[in-house]
Symmetry: C2
Subunit: 367 residues, 2 copies
DNA sequence: AGACTCCCCGGAAACGTTTACAGCTATCGG
DNA sequence: CCGATAGCTGTAAACGTTTCCGGGGAGTCT
């Protein structure tokens, strides 16, 4: 039988041709039945039977080539080990999975070239869309984002006029919440352990800290500000440097990993938390609840931001003509043991301070 | 002009046809030049020029259909939030990326149906291979693994006769290391906080704990054994239950997340660590170093296991006829502050115990 | 009873790439 | 100076799927 094409590939795996031949129908009919569109009862039975007998599984690549979509969504974050990205990823994954797609995760290590290379490679159509949370943004970056061939949603700050779907929070305001809380509970010598200033979040948090101090009429003491990167080890080292030259009664940290490092440094240095030094982290990851004492932390709604970003992306994939949208998730402060104690100072607690217990088991209250 | 096929898809994105037409050569020549095989200097120049002008990027899907490989490797783990998997993933990612491939991460949540569904979907050829670290293994699972159409490597215990590439450690021995160390430093009322017994690691660690106690001639006290799951919250709750009915002088935990929960419970209950209760975790993740006091932990070489699994997988992708291989990574104990103190007991420390300081900054010594 | 509609089916094109094959030219050795 | 050979080029097939289109049969309405 000189059929026009092989029924069985050398591979041995069945294709739609195999099924069709076995069922005695055309590949078109077989395909229709397998996709559940059309087909007479008799044809359906034959095709289903044949497919089951040979163990047919459609080849997703061929299907993608035809349909021009892969069902893959990419997520690019700096550091997969940071719990804040884990939370974001979980939220994204939930949305993505519920749309029948799969998530492809990339760790960029914050290296900008890495990220632009990734964006350019996007052009090869391997994913239907991408969510990226860059911590540094260059012009190169922006143009790569703007003329990306596939939909992109950015989580994080972005130029106001960039025509890109964007979900952000206000980390300046987040820092302000932390400072307000500390001031309200009587702290005055408030230190700040930040990440790199050449990153978007680093710069925003620095500005937020300075503004908040000024608003409270507290003079800025550069001795009380220290910079590392957004990791645990750097946070610990930066806090050690800070403690070696200054004597804070409170510390704000630019994320929870830094805060955990700061806690370690404080305890090693023999400071009691919160009695001697109150500590507030940022991102409100599960890490904050795992520490002893549990860490107060400014929630930047990472799960919520992830969820919204995923929804924006799915909407854009469905309709590419949508105008660029921008959503904002407000920060909120979660007070736990690490900053719950009010200093025995001039001003009694009026804020959301908890009881000054050393062994609290409360899960924190949202300010 | 009546070319056989469209030069420009409605999409507007250039294909190899676009480039070929613009360069005035055939698509075969264009493809050859773009892949760097063959072509006269003149042709090369023209094609390169045309490709640059139209901004040609090859369509990875079409290429995959032709080459029967996607360049994607899947990794399926239970919980993406567990630092042990983060470490494993980093190691795998390094190997995978150095081979020019990309990593696709799946969180299974430990649900067995989820995992088998994933394995079956593998048949659709979307990935070139898969690394899976199941915590529960059923027969269904095994058959799905064995007749998977794409190469699979399993990280974790597996039936000895299963013809599947496999990288494992000996967590029974790992638990023994922890118990030996605690006994050597004078502990006798050693508790154990485990994960679910119907999981492979849970069962192995339970058996290891019982065997180790027996080997030391210490009677087994069921009051000192508690079970939750492999998460922080469960570890904390399980430890609270255990402390409510027994008075251990040491705790072995089935992983670091549990150990962190146990530490929290101990400190809330007012026990000093390590003076009152020594604590040893398992997996030796960065979390162990982040705690105060830093946690002793049994390293199961997760990064190493990940690296080796990735290498096995790449080898098998390159040559499917290799016989099934099995590699073993030995566990090792890293002693840190949480178990460094020797009890003022009958037996002076002969083991690898560190100084009984309360504020150690040592990064731990490997036993 | 004829025309119209509806449904089902099979052939073939299309997605964008790589590659086997054959034809052509130019070069080199004898 | 001619034949072999090497290198380049273009045509066309192939990867496995979905889908457009035209043909045909059965059923229904007028």
């Amino acid at each position: 039988m000189g059929r026009k094409r092989l029924q069985e590939p050398a591979d041995g795996r069945p294709t739609v041709h195999t099924v069709a031949a076995r069922a005695g129908v055309s590949i078109a009919s077989a395909s229709r039945v397998l996709n559940g569109v059309g087909g007479s009862p008799e044809t359906i039975r034959k095709v289903r039977e044949a497919a089951a007998e040979v163990g047919y599984v459609p080849n997703a690549i061929a299907r993608s080539l035809q349909s021009q979509r892969t069902g893959l969504i990419a997520l690019a974050v700096e550091d997969i080990g940071n719990p804040v990205y884990v939370e974001m990823m979980r939220a994204i994954e939930a949305v993505v999975a519920s749309s029948g797609r799969q998530l492809l995760v990339h760790a960029t290590g914050g290296r900008i070239d890495n990220e632009t290379a990734l964006l350019r490679r996007l052009a090869n159509r391997y994913v239907d869309g991408m969510i990226v949370s860059p911590i540094r943004v260059t012009n190169d970056h922006l143009t790569a984002l703007v003329d990306s061939p596939v939909p992109v949603v950015v989580v994080g700050q972005l130029d106001a006029d960039a025509p890109i779907d964007n979900v952000r929070t206000d980390s300046r305001h987040g820092v302000a919440l932390a400072v307000d809380h500390l001031v309200a509970t009587g702290r005055r010598r408030i230190g700040f352990v930040n990440g790199p200033l050449d990153t978007v979040p680093g710069a925003a948090r620095d500005a937020g800290f300075r503004a908040a101090l000024a608003r409270h009429g507290i003079g800025l003491d550069d001795e009380l500000i220290e910079v590392g990167d957004f990791q645990y080890a750097a946070g610990r080292a930066a806090t050690e440097r800070l403690l070696a030259r200054a004597d804070p009664d409170a510390l704000v940290c630019a994320n929870d990993l830094i805060a955990v490092g700061a806690l370690h440094a404080l305890l090693v240095a023999g400071r009691r938390v919160p009695q001697d030094v109150a500590l507030v982290g940022m991102d409100d990851t599960e890490l904050a609840r795992m520490m002893f004492p549990q860490l107060s932390s400014v929630s930047l709604g990472s799960a919520e931001r992830g969820r919204r970003a995923a929804e924006l992306l799915l909407q854009r994939i469905a309709d590419a003509t949508l105008p660029p949208r921008r959503e904002q998730v407000p920060p909120s402060l979660v007070v736990r043991a690490s900053s719950a104690a009010t200093l025995p100072g001039p001003r009694p607690a009026t804020g959301p301070a908890g009881p000054p217990t050393t062994h609290p088991s409360s899960e924190g209250v949202t300010a």
